[in-house]
Amino acid sequence: MSPTTLRRSLVVVGIAVAATVPWFTDLFAQGLATTAACTALLALSLVLLTGMVGQVSFCQFSFAALGAFTVGSLMVGHGVSFWLAATLGAAFAGVVGVVVGFLALRLRGLLLAVLTVSVALFVDVSLLAPGTWDGFTNGSSGWTGIPHPAIFGHELDTYQLYLFTFGVFLLAALLVWNLRNGKTGRVLRAVRDSEVASATLGLNVAGWKLAAFGVSAAMAGLAGALLAVAESSAAGGSQSSYSFQYSVALVATVTVFGAGSIFAAAVTGFFIVFGTWLLDLTPLSHQWFNLVLGALLIVQLVFNPDGVVVKTERDVVHLLHRLAARRHPPAVSVTSEAA
């Protein structure tokens, strides 16, 4: 079996399993599955930024918060439909992303990380602070009772909302996959590898970085918009799902699974939401989740900085080639790109 065939069949099987299994579960698990799909979309936005342009961001959940609160205010406060609200939310996050990208233009590595941390903390103490929204929402520190999106007047039920969110993730993944394999992916990698060489080849380095930040932030904003309807609230204060710590966990998990891989984004979404549940299946307590994540991250960075998914994929491809070589020598060497 060729690696491409194997990958395609795995993707098809994975999509089928992910789409059908929640149908057999209770509403609570379906809700979690929707959250996982949103988180996967967020992870994908980080794959676009970190895996393709090499820029780090510790504020993806803050962009998500912009999307979520836009949806909350427009849908609950003004009765706007989900479709318009989510579009505006994603666009707003994208514009803020371009602004952050502009500030980040000359920064790399540690300083860029510090900048994105400050953005996240700024959102934490302003947008998400307890009391910010009290004047608008009669003191509930956020928007509650956000309805599910409606298609032709029919409001999606919990499982349908999951399918919709998962579909959005798949569509986004397909678009990112195409970007990566086209001119855009090549240009972004060029910018990551050598900015000075990219400029002397006529590429507008600043423009491409801004575009990457904008698209990544808009994708995160869309994930936030979906998260808001999935949780039917956009809450600030101590219950907020968008604070800085979640962005850190997202970066850590994406790094563990492989920042260069689209499939790793899907795994990240599943792991962040169901990781505690997975731990409960083992003798460990779910309270150990962060500890386990931290330990995984350290092991990962030391032994295999490309990430679990990327490494596994490469190993499988090598294995297939070895098997093929044994059957029909001589071996054909094929260079493989991570999915």
């Binding site: 678009l175 970007l179 086209g182 001119k183 855009t184 240009v187 400029a199 006529g202």
Partner: protein
Amino acid sequence: MALLEVRGVGKRFGGVQALQDVSAIVHRGEIVGLIGPNGAGKTTLFNCISGVETPDSGRIAFDDNDLAGMSPHRRARLGIARTFQNLQLFGSMTVLENCMTAFDAFARRGMVADALRMPWARFEEHRARERAMAMLHFLDIERFAHSRAQDLPTGLQRRIELARALCLRPALLLLDEPAAGLDADETIELAGFLRSARDRLDVSMLLVDHDMSLVMRVCDHITVLDFGKVIAAGDPPAIRSDPVVITAYLGEAA
């Protein structure tokens, strides 16, 4: 007709006068050599021409366009390509992808066409691939097309950088020490490539190198820099016998 005209360019870094009233001209179809001891200001002049540094004084004109205040990527689109003394290949990419990147600045499609895999996006991709392959064939490195650039030896990497720069189809090519790290045979081969690139691809060149065998072999005209100033200019035989040049530079090398 002057393709590149550098007139009275000065550049100071703190207390060091890197360039002082430097003038040079590259005519269409010429290969001009720029030589001088280490620290003479050759790379600084290159950086001023390609837009990486801004000169403090003087004027640089390319094809009758004043380059002042123009960003590096716009100069590249006007037709100025360059290679680097410390190689700047895209290490994670294959040789072919490195060269294809040179077509991307001129590609009409944007992110949306790419994301939706529009037919014209795929067509352009295909065309860029073919043209890059043709350039690799021209420089006789097409067998390395699918190797990762950073896994190849330095001599080959220099040639890949040359291929990538030529893929831009520039009118002017700035070569920063293209023979560094090459052995004698490779240098002779490089001289041949430079001459045939000039003749067949219509590229004028400004060439910095320490390797006199290369400079004397390929250059039509040579400008000598020392301590940021032009101390001599002329054709290779004249430079070779110029006493000022011999004291300043060739004396130590020969």
